[in-house]
């Protein structure tokens, strides 16, 4: 409405001037029948108002759309009015929508292609890595262990890349099923044997209740736990020689807790440790901190519907917990 009036303000002003000019012309020409003149002007005004009303009602949606804009992308596809100008607007919006859609699709395809490339490349790298590892095993110490330490770091780096690439399509990658927690802890520990040994930090599993089972995705839970354990070991090395992994029920929720007596996280960093690429003061002191680990833990847990908790005191250590909701807890009570 407002826009309509603004749009027609000038026309209305011109009309008013016209009425006055017509009135004056007739008056000055010597015709002094006021009621006849006013009647003529009234007719003029009547037709003018009719025109404006018709114009407005036939283009009401059009003006509305122009005034309010569109909220969602799909709004651009809605038909506005039958008036030619409204149709023209619709066709432009549709065209624009199409152009953007094409561009978006192309961008998505490019990204898809890139992800696939990354995925293949990572898998390709595993073969040379195997060769280096096998060759290193035949060397004498300490070179042998030293080379294998590096290949292991490459291996874990490659794995993070894979998981990172899969994160975007994580919903398609989930296979939710019952997972026995003690099994997954054991698998992660076995997988990271050498990392423990090299750091001279050893795990201890404390099961408050045996046979705990939760509903989750095994592969991603493995990944989360591996990140937490690797952090715990990394920040314990040289300070303590043990990390503890606790399994217990809290109320009706199942809890998987990784507890270390390492460096601890300063209070000012605690809020941000789950942020992408945030390394904090510990990350700067220790090498090979990417700032990705805890971010991925948080992201993946959220999508799996698990909660992540953290407590930490500088100099005393940190506790990270994965809390499985009561509905995900399948442990027989």
């Amino acid at each position: 409405m407002k826009l309509f009036f603004r749009e027609h303000m000038f026309l209305i002003a011109v009309q008013v001037i016209q009425f006055m000019v017509v009135f004056l012309t007739i008056w000055l020409s010597g015709f002094h029948n006021v009621s006849a003149i006013f009647y003529a002007i009234f007719l003029q005004v009547f037709f003018f108002v009719c025109y404006l009303a018709y114009h407005f009602f036939s283009r009401r949606n059009y003006y509305e759309k122009l005034e309010e804009g569109i909220e969602r992308l799909e709004d651009a596809l809605e038909n506005t009015d039958r008036a030619p100008i409204a149709k023209q607007l619709d066709s432009i919006l549709k065209r624009q929508y199409q152009l953007y859609a094409t561009e978006l699709r192309e961008a998505e395809e490019r990204q898809e292609e890139h992800l696939e490339f990354v995925d293949r490349w990572v898998h390709q790298m595993k073969t040379p890595l195997s060769v280096i590892e096998l060759t290193a095993q035949n060397l004498d110490e300490p070179d042998s262990s030293s080379i294998r330490e590096e290949t292991e770091r490459m291996k874990s780096g490659l794995n993070t890349v894979l998981y990172m690439a899969r994160l975007r399509t994580i919903e398609h990658d989930f296979h939710i099923k019952p997972v026995r927690l003690s099994n997954i802890v054991r698998d992660v520990n076995t997988e990271n044997k050498r990392f423990y040994i090299r750091s001279a930090v050893y795990p201890k599993l404390v099961e408050q209740q045996a046979e705990m089972v939760v509903e989750s995705d095994e592969k991603w839970l493995f990944f989360i736990l591996e990140q937490l354990i690797q952090n715990a070991v990394k920040y314990s090395a040289g300070k303590s020689n043990q990390i503890e992994i606790h399994l217990y029920n809290r109320g009706s929720s199942a809890v998987l807790e990784v507890r270390d007596e390492g460096t601890g996280i300063p209070v000012e960093d605690q809020r941000r440790v789950f942020h992408k690429f945030y390394t904090g003061s510990n990350g700067r002191k220790y090498r090979e901190s990417t700032g990705m680990g805890l971010y991925l833990v948080k992201e993946v847990s959220e999508r799996l519907g698990h909660k992540v908790e953290m407590e930490s005191v500088v100099g005393e250590g940190s506790i990270f917990r994965i809390v499985f909701s009561p509905t995900q807890n399948l442990t027989p009570m």
């Binding site: 595993k126 060769v131 096998l134 060397l139 110490e141 042998s144 076995t190 001279a200 795990p203 020689n241």
Partner: protein
Amino acid sequence: MQKILIIEDDPKIAGHLKIFIEKYGYLATVIQDFDDIMKQFRIEQPDLVLLDINLPAFDGYYWCRQIRLESICPVLFISARTGEMDQVMALENGGDDFITKPFHPDIVMAKIRSHLRRAYGAYAAKHEECILEAEGLKLYPERFELHFRGSQTHLTKKESDILESLLDRYPRVAGREDLLEKLWDDQTYVDENTLNVNITRVRKKLQELGIERAVETVRGAGYRLRISWEVEE
């Protein structure tokens, strides 16, 4: 002697596998021509096949199906692919097991042995017992026994593991990390002391056989076997 066919297009990996397999007393053949694997399969008539998935021309799934048309010998897939779907595909196409790269040679050997046992009867007469030997000192890792000049002694699993590494690595150093890794047990986790304690026990066992100071500590690296006894000609 049982024959194992290695179908892997990376020559170095294939070479390493061949060396490991032959060390354990099996015969290993590496496929050179990937266009007609079946022809070579028929010539070799292997008892077990190690199969990669990514191969030139056809993939491993295809070859596994071809093998299955004429043989029921165990087929173990070795691949860099780790997806659940790949493993399902491998088993659905007739594979018996799946090993992911990068693999640990001990695991590959253990799986080969377990599948051979299963396929051709437990401890078939064909299979020769594995013996590790250095200048008259003989270790039977499957029986946990150590023999030296007519006398013998029983070992625990952990002692046998340590001696196996020492003999296997001789004359090189057996790395600390490798020894600890070998001792690592899924149920009870190791720590630094486990190794020290067990090395002491191994030394004692060697003393029982009349061998002194044969396990030498190499600082910062690990332990090395030293031939401290007089070698008989």
